[in-house]
């Protein structure tokens, strides 16, 4: 038997609930369609897809939790554990590799100190950065590229440019400590 939807332990902020209602209204034919949008909304608000997220979204859409869980586990953008404050996605695919995408990734690794199994996202020990390779970001003409949070950065083909890119995103206005 699937776990029964339960009401979340903490009360959710009213602006979040209002946004959720508005999102569901975009799908007059089927509330289930709001699964991806609500996962995005949750992740943007709370940082990652917790157990609570799965249960709450399922209940909100009248679904069993497995329907939400199977979606959350399929799509690469959803993550089930907290990420660093700054999230870097380096394009791994061909046009970027031809232009130095591998070097971009290695430099980012050195600058952020992120380590771990590179098949998935890796994190810096201080929890400040999460770094991962992703597939073609649809900006192959300005390769190599990466996204830092929601911003695309193009033509990052020298260590100086990469450092400058990272500095614009550093939390609290602090430049990245490593050069």
């Amino acid at each position: 038997m699937p776990p029964r939807p339960t009401t979340p332990a903490k009360t959710l902020p009213t602006d979040f609930l209002a946004k959720a209602d508005e999102t569901v209204a975009h799908y007059p034919f089927s509330a289930r369609s709001a699964t991806l949008p609500l996962l995005h909304l949750w992740q943007e608000q709370f940082g990652f897809i917790s157990e609570e997220a799965i249960v709450w979204i399922a209940a909100r859409l009248g679904q069993v939790p497995i329907h939400v869980l199977e979606v959350a586990t399929f799509y690469p953008m959803f993550h089930r554990e907290p990420f660093g404050k700054i999230h870097i996605k380096v394009c791994r695919t061909l046009s970027c590799e031809l232009a130095g995408g591998r070097e971009l990734f290695e430099t980012m690794k050195r600058l952020t100190g992120a380590t771990g199994d590179e098949h998935g996202p890796i994190h810096s020990p201080d929890g400040r950065y999460t770094l991962e390779f992703v597939e073609c970001l649809a900006s192959c003409g300005t390769a190599p590229v990466c996204m830092v949070d929601e911003t695309l950065h193009e033509k990052l083909d020298t260590p100086e440019k990469i450092k400058a890119c990272l500095d614009t995103h550093s939390t609290g206005g602090e430049p990245c400590p490593i050069t």
Partner: protein
């Protein structure tokens, strides 16, 4: 002498001072096509698009007007329209330009398409990695609504229409139209089998659904503006209109360029438009239509049949540089126009490494429903990466080819072909490189073995 671009879709978006807001769009003649379209009955709009000869810009090149007329006329289900803004075929970056810099062109095209197919609800499925693009489109939709171009009565015509933006979340297979539909339904994007699931008949929520690419919908706006027959004069017969070509890789000036379809050759695109191969290197290979398209090798000769305006057919031999960049010509040389993403590689490039990169992409992106695709894409990736590590085995070259040959044609969706074409073409055309790598590796292995 560089060939002049023919900018129809890209006309305004790079002009200095051009912004994404509705006032700027209207100042540049925006929504004039919609004004025209609301006065034309649905059948008339579909007919204009049929007459225009427009073929889909998303990859398959299917006739747009023909697709629209597949909606069962007697159906009493609601009709839906989806804009495919998933843009995730490696090498393709044209829809991004439209979405970020000229969103109203897409919104206008989409409203006209909805009028034509009588869809009262539309979704723009935008890839998750365009968070800014999603916000820009949402704002554009809100602006259009405020002006009365969307909502209960589109420009007072009595036709109600709502459009919403739906964000993907990083999966390439959501670009495949039936996977996309599953994704909007809130599920894993496992593609559906055709037949029976042709979206125009059984699509989103099992209702008739039209799925069109961003650039295709923008072209619709221009077709209504200029008239279908006038649009059909651009380009070549059966390959009409303009197309945005995206060039990346080893050229001096990579970027996006719009030309009349088939009024430019691959050689002109690489050498005249993009300034040739960078660092003074020589051309080695080109992937002409997104990463799934079969690779073309410099120096190759192709025998093609050409139809004369008189109807007579004659055969001639051409080189890679002479290939005309349209649907039919690229198919004739054994590749495809696909998404018009052109990836250029110079003579210093290692073809095994390039294929290893692409195979990693396909292994990661297979949805996993069909055994040949799920296992085959992973197997091909394992082989090419072990060759790259120097652990290639004798016979790996032929093994790669045979794995690929056993995927295509045996799967639910066209991803099966998409993931096997690179391997099939790379291994066939650059066989010596693969043999040399596996041969050298074999020597290394046996040396190690003898220690």
């Amino acid at each position: 002498m560089p060939i002049a671009e023919k900018r129809l879709i890209l006309k305004n978006l790079d002009e200095p001072g051009y912004t994404a807001d509705i006032e700027c769009y209207i100042k540049h003649g925006g929504y004039e096509s919609l004004k025209k379209a609301v006065k034309i009955p649905s059948a008339g709009l579909i007919n204009e698009v049929k007459v225009s000869g427009l073929r889909g810009r998303g990859g398959a090149g299917f006739g747009c007007g023909v697709k629209w007329s597949f909606i069962p006329p007697a159906s009493n289900k609601p009709i839906l329209l989806i804009c495919n803004a998933d843009e995730s075929e490696p090498g393709t970056f044209k829809d991004r330009q439209i979405i970020y810099k000229d969103p109203h062109q897409l919104v206008e095209g989409m409203i006209i398409a909805c009028l034509a197919v009588k869809a009262h609800l539309g979704y723009i499925y935008i890839r998750g990695e365009f968070p800014g693009g999603a916000k820009i489109l949402e704002r554009a939709i809100a602006e259009a609504r405020q002006k009365g171009f969307l909502g209960k009565s589109v420009m007072g015509s009595g036709f109600g229409l709502e459009i919403f933006v739906h964000r993907g979340a990083g999966a390439y297979i959501c670009g495949e139209e039936t996977g996309l539909i599953e994704s909007i339904e809130g599920k894993r994007p496992n593609p559906r089998i055709k037949p029976p699931y042709f979206p125009a008949v059984l699509g989103l929520y099992h209702c008739p659904t039209i799925v069109n690419n961003v650039e295709t919908l923008c072209a619709v706006k221009h077709i209504i503006a200029m008239g279908g027959s006038e649009y059909a004069r651009l380009g070549r017969p059966n390959n009409t209109g303009t197309r945005v070509y995206c060039v990346s890789g080893d050229v001096v000036k990579p970027g996006y360029y719009e030309f009349e379809v088939g009024r430019i050759t691959l050689g002109e695109l690489i050498y005249d438009v993009c300034g040739g191969i960078r660092n003074g290197n020589r051309l080695k290979a080109v992937i002409p239509g997104g990463s799934s398209a079969k690779i073309l090798k410099a120096g190759e000769r192709y025998k093609i049949k050409e139809k004369m305006p008189t109807g007579s057919v004659f055969e001639r031999e051409i080189g890679l540089e002479d290939i005309v960049m349209d649907f039919d010509s690229l198919a004739a040389v054994g590749s495809m126009a696909g998404s018009a993403g052109v990836i250029v590689m110079d003579h210093t490039r290692d073809m095994v490494a390039a294929l290893a990169n692409l195979n990693a992409f396909y292994a990661h992106e297979s949805c996993g429903q069909c055994t040949p695709c799920r296992e085959g894409s992973l197997w091909m990736q394992k082989i090419t990466s072990r060759i790259m590590r120097g652990d290639g085995r004798e016979g790996d070259t032929d093994l790669l080819k045979s794995v690929a040959d056993n995927i295509a044609g045996r799967t639910i969706c066209a991803f099966g072909e998409a993931c096997s074409w690179p391997t099939q073409s790379f291994v066939t055309k650059f066989r010596e490189e693969f043999l040399a790598k596996t041969g050298a590796a074999k020597e290394k292995n046996s040396e190690e073995g003898s220690l």
